[in-house]
């Protein structure tokens, strides 16, 4: 054996002994061909008109997760079959929502990596691997949910609270900007959103006593254009809703991608729980703007209006759901609506021009509120706060829904949400803030096995919040949804199914076992005229199409 071969034989087991998982055979990064055209702001603004692509986290700026593709439809969806699978060389559960641009797919991988593959075959072109420090502070797994693209540059959040810009053709790093200090509990997991000539991106760390914010960066340089703190500082309106110095550690992160209305020039973004999560004794007040929908001027970062779903939250019901924007008539009047099924188990329709509350009612089991008042503010039920002994409340920490993307079909005019009628016992405990350590003030635990509770995909009428149909899931789902012009709704389950339902009736039309939890959201696109549907399950990205 020649010496070079001997070196390789020795080095390979070293990496295994160090606990690194074996990776795929090393490939040299290969630039993708010139058929990828720059993704201009005009393309993003009109993304619905190129359904062969999936150009942003929620497909279009209105976040409807609706595709005009109809090659796969109710009549033939049962013929879907596997076209290719891409194995992510990490064993974390993938939460990625890939982008597809002109036949190329960009998939984020745990912990903070990005790979470009051929969207028709799954064959890789290049991989960007982000070097991370060892002292990450992350509450809930090594997650990354996707990237944004503008021009020929991809933008990705990283677990060490950086934002990186990567050349879409080569995978080369263009810039790397520190957004916040990871040692203080900040991290980044969400897919950024390109808005005109800026890249808008949120922050995670609501379990570490951070002060949340939403940022916009210049795509060419990585310089900060504006920052909106989600907790007002001294002298700003809303600051008085935090007792003492609690605003400094009040959380309100922005860890899921929002939406944008070009006509109103407003960015809509949800905020997470106030901190500490379950002990609100030290932060009396409404705790603005935690658990809120924010409407933000895209050029200046100025807050135009807000709607708080859960004032003084003590159950960890983040309002980071993806806002869905659609225009419908309500009582004979055309309305610019925002649809929102909140983690607190209430469904809301808001007027997205003004933030005015239009519709609200429970879409999942809840015991914490007697209802909503005329302004949409919850009327709290007595005796439903966390206690030192434990107190059973619905919904559970994971909510009536959570971060799982909903969908909306303009064909059926229905809003589709992954709902859960659960409950948990909520506890309160004392906790002092120490920088970089978890700061939650309590916890929750299951009362019964999850099989006892009802989980369902529900179709709601956004004009009333009424249930139109439901499809029961056993035991439950943590999948996002996709609606298509083929009148289909796609989703998955925690025990490894991927399925398609009739968007009008909820009837099951097709399912396949993908062997591991679906903890991401499906996308659809087409390559060479063939419609494909992609879903990440476990750590594998599966793509299906008709024969």
């Amino acid at each position: 054996m020649k010496s070079r071969v001997l070196v390789m034989a020795l080095v390979a087991p070293v990496s295994l002994l160090m606990g690194q998982e074996p990776s795929r055979p090393s490939r040299k990064n290969e630039a993708i061909p010139s058929s990828l055209k720059p993704v201009t702001w005009e393309r993003l603004r009109n993304a619905a008109e190129e359904p062969q692509n999936w150009l942003m986290y929620s497909a279009t700026l209105d976040s409807q997760r609706f595709s005009r593709l109809d090659q796969v439809r109710r009549e033939n969806v049962s013929g879907l079959e596997l076209k290719w699978a891409y194995q992510i060389p990490q064993i974390d559960r993938a939460e990625t929502v890939p982008l597809v641009v002109d036949g190329f797919m960009f998939i984020t991988e745990a912990p903070s990596n990005l790979v470009a593959v051929d969207a028709g075959t799954g064959r890789p072109y290049w991989r960007y691997e982000h070097e991370l420090p060892e002292d990450l502070r992350i509450c809930c797994g090594r997650n990354n949910r996707g990237v944004a693209i503008l021009g020929e540059t991809l933008f990705m959040s990283t677990l060490d609270a950086h934002l990186v810009a990567i050349d879409a053709r080569s995978g080369s790093l263009i810039w790397n900007t520190k957004v916040a200090d990871h040692k203080a509990g900040y991290s980044k997991t969400e897919a950024p959103l390109a808005v005109k000539d800026l890249v808008v991106t949120g922050i995670a760390g609501g379990e570490y006593g951070i002060r949340g914010f939403l940022d916009a960066y210049h795509p060419e340089t990585g310089e900060l254009a504006w920052r909106l703190y989600t907790i007002p500082g001294p002298g700003e309106p809303g600051h008085e809703t935090w007792a003492g110095d609690s605003w400094k550690t009040g959380g309100a992160p922005t860890w899921i991608t929002g939406a944008y209305d070009p006509e109103l020039n407003l960015i809509y973004w949800g905020t997470g729980n106030p901190g500490p999560d379950w002990n609100g004794e030290g932060r009396m007040g409404d705790n603005l703007y935690s658990d809120s929908a924010l409407a933000i001027n895209a050029d200046t970062g100025k807050l135009e209006w807000h709607f708080q779903f859960t004032p003084w939250d003590v159950h960890d019901w983040d309002a980071i759901q993806v806002p869905i924007l659609a225009d419908l008539e309500l009582n004979g009047e055309a309305r610019k609506m925002m649809m929102w099924a909140n983690r607190n188990a209430f469904y809301y329709t808001l007027d997205r021009e003004t933030g005015k509350f239009l519709v609200g009612k429970p879409y999942a089991k809840q015991t914490w509120a007697e209802g909503l008042d005329e302004s949409g503010r919850p009327i709290r039920a007595p005796g439903k706060l966390p206690t030192r002994e434990g107190n059973v409340v619905s919904p559970p920490v994971l909510g009536g829904t959570n971060w799982y993307s909903p969908a909306y079909s303009p064909r059926t005019e229905l809003f589709y949400v992954n709902a859960y009628d659960g409950e948990q016992e909520f506890f309160l405990r004392e906790e002092e803030y120490r920088e970089g350590e978890q700061y939650t003030g309590g916890g929750a635990q299951n009362v019964e096995p999850i099989d006892k509770y009802k989980s369902a995909i529900r179709a709601l009428d956004p004009r009333t919040g009424d249930l139109r149909w439901e499809f029961e899931i056993q035991p439950r789902s943590s999948s996002g949804l996709l609606a298509t012009a083929g009148d289909l709704v796609f989703g998955g389950t925690v025990d490894g199914y991927f399925f398609a339902l009739d968007a009008e009736s909820g009837r099951e039309l097709w399912h396949v076992a993908v062997g591991a939890r679906v903890h991401s959201a499906p996308i659809t696109y087409s390559v060479n005229g063939q419609q494909l549907v992609t879903i990440a399950a476990g750590n594998v990205v599966f793509t299906f199409g008709l024969d």
Partner: protein, 264 residues
């Protein structure tokens, strides 16, 4: 580190994953005070994923730490290393930024979550309990122990790793108190009207698997069923009416002897 020096490390140590402390090291912070402090740190640093009660978390995929031996750490030193360094390539991240004594205190706390037979002085006789299990109690007709017995109840070969004596007693005298969904009964009516009833071997969104009283396995697609009924009580009768209190104690003593011993 260059390749040459990496090779030297490999050849000299025989293992690059050098553990500090050594595998044999016992926990130097294992008093009751340490356990309490460790419990508090566990709640803030670990409870988010593993659950406040350490019984795991469906959303995060973090395992239950209360049941028997831990998969990735069978010694105190191993557990220390997992808490400090995490498990590479998984969602289990370490808290290496925390001081070593704090990590040892978490180890002490996690060790309290598991059942220590030394904590119990039971009144019953293991031998008499074994006899009741296989005889008068008729337990073996449904329950398997180390390969012998029926399949219509949980395999009890290592039941003492997951159930305390008082819980075992409740299981025997009030079987409906805690019924895992796996042991619910399903009654289904097929399209032709015929009925099948049996244990809920598996149920997901689309299918059912049932084992009937003769231990026959049935598989159904939910779409093909006319009706489905779940019975969430236990098919097991209480022993309260058939065994004397001392016999129940004997049976508990026997069941609490059924464990997976360290190193096996």
């Amino acid at each position: 580190m260059g390749i040459a020096s990496l090779i030297i490390v490999f050849l000299v140590s025989g293992s690059v994953g050098i553990s500090q402390p050594t595998e044999a090291q016992e926990n130097p912070f294992d008093t009751e005070v340490d356990e309490r402090i460790g419990g508090r740190v566990f709640l803030s640093e670990c409870g988010r994923c593993h659950g406040r009660d350490a019984r795991g978390n469906d959303e995060t995929g973090a395992p239950d730490l209360t049941r028997g031996r831990l998969r990735t750490a069978s010694t105190d030193a191993g557990l220390f290393q997992v808490i400090r360094d995490g498990i590479p390539g998984t969602a289990m991240i370490g808290i290496g930024w925390a001081p070593d004594p704090t990590i040892w205190q978490i180890v002490a706390y996690v060790n309290t979550l598991r059942i220590d037979p030394g904590d119990y002085d039971l009144p019953g006789s293991v031998d008499r309990g074994r006899g009741i299990f296989n005889g008068k109690g008729n337990c073996a007709s449904c329950h398997m122990v180390k390969g012998n017995g029926g399949r219509r109840g949980p395999d009890l070969s290592t039941v003492a790793n997951r159930r305390k004596p008082e819980e075992l007693k409740t299981d025997l005298t009030d079987p409906d108190e805690t019924v895992e969904p796996r042991w619910w009964t399903l009654k289904v009516a097929r399209a032709d009207g015929s009925l099948v009833e049996g244990l809920r071997m598996n149920e997901d969104t689309f299918t059912l698997r049932i084992m009937d009283a003769e231990e026959n396995l049935w598989h159904f697609s939910k779409q093909e069923l006319r009706s489905l009924e779940r019975i969430e009580t236990s098919p097991m009768p209480s022993v309260a009416g058939t065994l004397m209190a001392s016999e129940v104690d004997d049976l508990v003593a026997f069941l609490f002897s059924l464990r997976k011993e360290s190193g096996t």
